[in-house]
């Protein structure tokens, strides 16, 4: 019976009901309630004003720049280190094991040290983001390289491939899907740690989304807090939707792992 409706109908109806209920709940309560729980209309209003004043865009820009630069550094360091871990046993037994441990450490734990080493500056935030990215990438590269089917290596070797040729033409292409999912995980860690760092520490060199959220807290403006939360979610989703997922899908499709 419900199968006659197009699939998006039911979720849309539920979402609208939820938002209307939320709005009604806030508006019919005492004034203090609106302070504790801003209504959807309040959040939208903040969003619109922040967009017009340019505050939101500049904060998003600052955060994205930190994220992209930190992620790029982390990935650029993580790939060769991971390859080294896979290639050299004693590096795997030292750095590889260390990477496993550090990966479980939320990288916001690095904030005190980062502030001490780099001061309240851009480098400190970047360091935290790099620490969030690099270990997931190291582990993913190490694992995917170790899991390259030996048959590919044997086939390539009999055809005369070795050294750099073997790495660039066989091992890396074969390991690429695993490396990519490691990067995706690194990206997710970096994103979380960056938010934590920006909320905890006011970095004088730039006012990011985390700082904007924290400012909302200090002003007791929960519409701003929740508005920034929504933006943070959106940016995370977008990064996945426009960057990682298409590459991953293309990669899997071209190899017949998925149709």
């Amino acid at each position: 019976m419900a199968s006659k409706l197009p699939r998006p109908v039911i979720p849309t109806v539920i979402a609208v009901l939820f938002l209307v209920g939320w709005e009604w709940f806030v508006r019919t309560g005492p004034d203090t309630r609106a302070v504790l729980v801003p209504a959807p209309s309040h959040i939208l209003k903040w969003f619109w004003e922040a967009l017009l004043s340019g505050e939101l865009l500049s904060a998003t820009w600052v955060t994205m720049r930190r994220l992209v630069i930190g992620f790029a550094i982390g990935a650029a360091l993580g790939v060769p280190l991971g390859a080294l871990c896979a290639r050299v046993r004693w590096v795997r037994d030292t750095l590889g094991v260390l990477a496993l441990g550090l990966q479980t450490l939320p990288s916001v734990c690095w904030v005190p040290l980062a502030l001490l080493w780099f001061g309240i500056r851009e480098e400190a935030v970047l360091f935290v983001v790099v620490m969030g990215t690099i270990w997931a990438v190291v582990i993913a590269v190490q694992e995917s390289v170790l899991n390259v089917p030996p048959l590919y290596l044997r086939a390539a070797q009999t055809m005369g491939s070795n050294g750099w040729h073997l790495w660039s033409r066989v091992i890396f292409p074969a390991a690429l899907p695993g490396v990519l999912s490691g990067m995706k995980q690194g990206w997710a860690f970096a994103w979380r740690s960056l938010m934590a760092a920006e909320i905890f520490v006011v970095i004088v060199t730039g006012f990011g989304l985390g700082s904007l959220l924290n400012a909302g807290r200090e002003l007791l403006r929960m519409d701003q807090v929740m508005g920034v939360m929504a933006v943070v979610m959106l940016v995370g989703l977008l990064a996945d939707l426009v960057f990682f997922s298409p590459i991953e899908r293309w990669l899997r499709r071209s190899r017949g792992l998925e149709r």
């Binding site: 044997r154 390539a156 009999t158 055809m159 005369g160 033409r169 190899r255």
Partner: protein, 262 residues
């Protein structure tokens, strides 16, 4: 048709002298091959057949230079085999095609490692061999878009294209269905007759061995040894359901089971 006896005076392409290979297993050392002496003549189709565990795949790895002998030596012509080389290409058990490359790129992989060719010559050669295995129209297909038989054909083209002196085949048909396999037997024999390659094929299928080989070398297991050598004088192309072939296969089977019963 080619007669194996005509080649009996041909020089040896591959020479094995007292080759022994041991592996360190969980339960101590295992002797995979013991004291193997064997000549593969230039232009000969030699098939090594035996039950699993007789060391036949190990033999192929040794010939390819992917593994090293513990005792004895292997020579290709006058030169000792110590490492993998383009003069001995291997066609593997399941398709070892690279899934990130399409059919022609896979064939080009080995050709691109030959420095003395121009890119145009490489492409021409790759096309020639894809046509030879009947896949000229599948140049751009990715391995996953091809059937198992087609994939093994691409693998065959890939190992033939760099024009190796010896083609080594490690049970290349074992994962295929009977119909596809029989088709490939035909193709291989045609290419063998046309291109005059030296081929060493390893298999556990006795019928297949008798169908394809000029000579069939029966290996016995634990440790792997040469038990008996059979000459196959049947005309090519041979077909699997040929009664003469079946009776020779029965002879090989009897020899094998009489050894296993001991």
């Amino acid at each position: 048709m080619s007669s194996p006896h005509a080649k009996s005076t041909a020089p040896a392409a591959l020479t094995l002298r007292n080759v022994t290979k041991r592996f360190d297993g969980a339960a101590g050392q295992v002797t995979a091959l013991e004291d193997i002496s064997l000549d593969v003549r230039e232009g000969e189709f030699l098939v090594v057949v035996g039950p699993s565990g007789c060391g036949k795949s190990t033999l192929l790895s040794l010939l390819a230079g992917l593994e090293h002998t513990n005792e004895g030596e292997i020579r290709l012509g006058e030169e000792a085999v110590v490492a993998p080389g383009r003069d001995r290409l291997v066609m593997f058990q399941q398709d070892a095609l690279f899934p990130w490359l399409n059919a022609i790129e896979n064939v080009l992989f080995g050709l691109r490692l030959k420095p003395d060719l121009t890119e145009a010559e490489r492409l021409e050669s790759a096309r020639y061999y894809l046509n030879l295995v009947g896949l000229g129209n599948k140049e751009k297909a990715r391995p996953h878009e091809l059937s198992g038989g087609m994939r093994q054909r691409v693998a065959l083209a890939r190992s033939l294209a760099p024009n190796p002196r010896v083609l080594l085949m490690d049970e290349p048909f074992s994962a295929l269905d009977a119909l596809t396999r029989e088709q490939l037997y035909g193709d291989i024999q045609e290419i063998f007759t046309k291109r005059k390659k030296t081929i060493v094929l390893v298999t556990h299928n006795i019928r297949e061995a008798v169908c394809l080989g000029d000579r069939v070398v029966l290996f016995s297991p634990n440790p792997g040894r040469v038990q008996q050598v059979f000459d196959v004088n049947l005309p090519r192309p041979r077909r699997m359901n040929d009664p003469a072939l079946a009776s020779l296969a029965a002879e090989v089977t009897t020899a094998l089971s009489s050894h296993l019963a001991k």
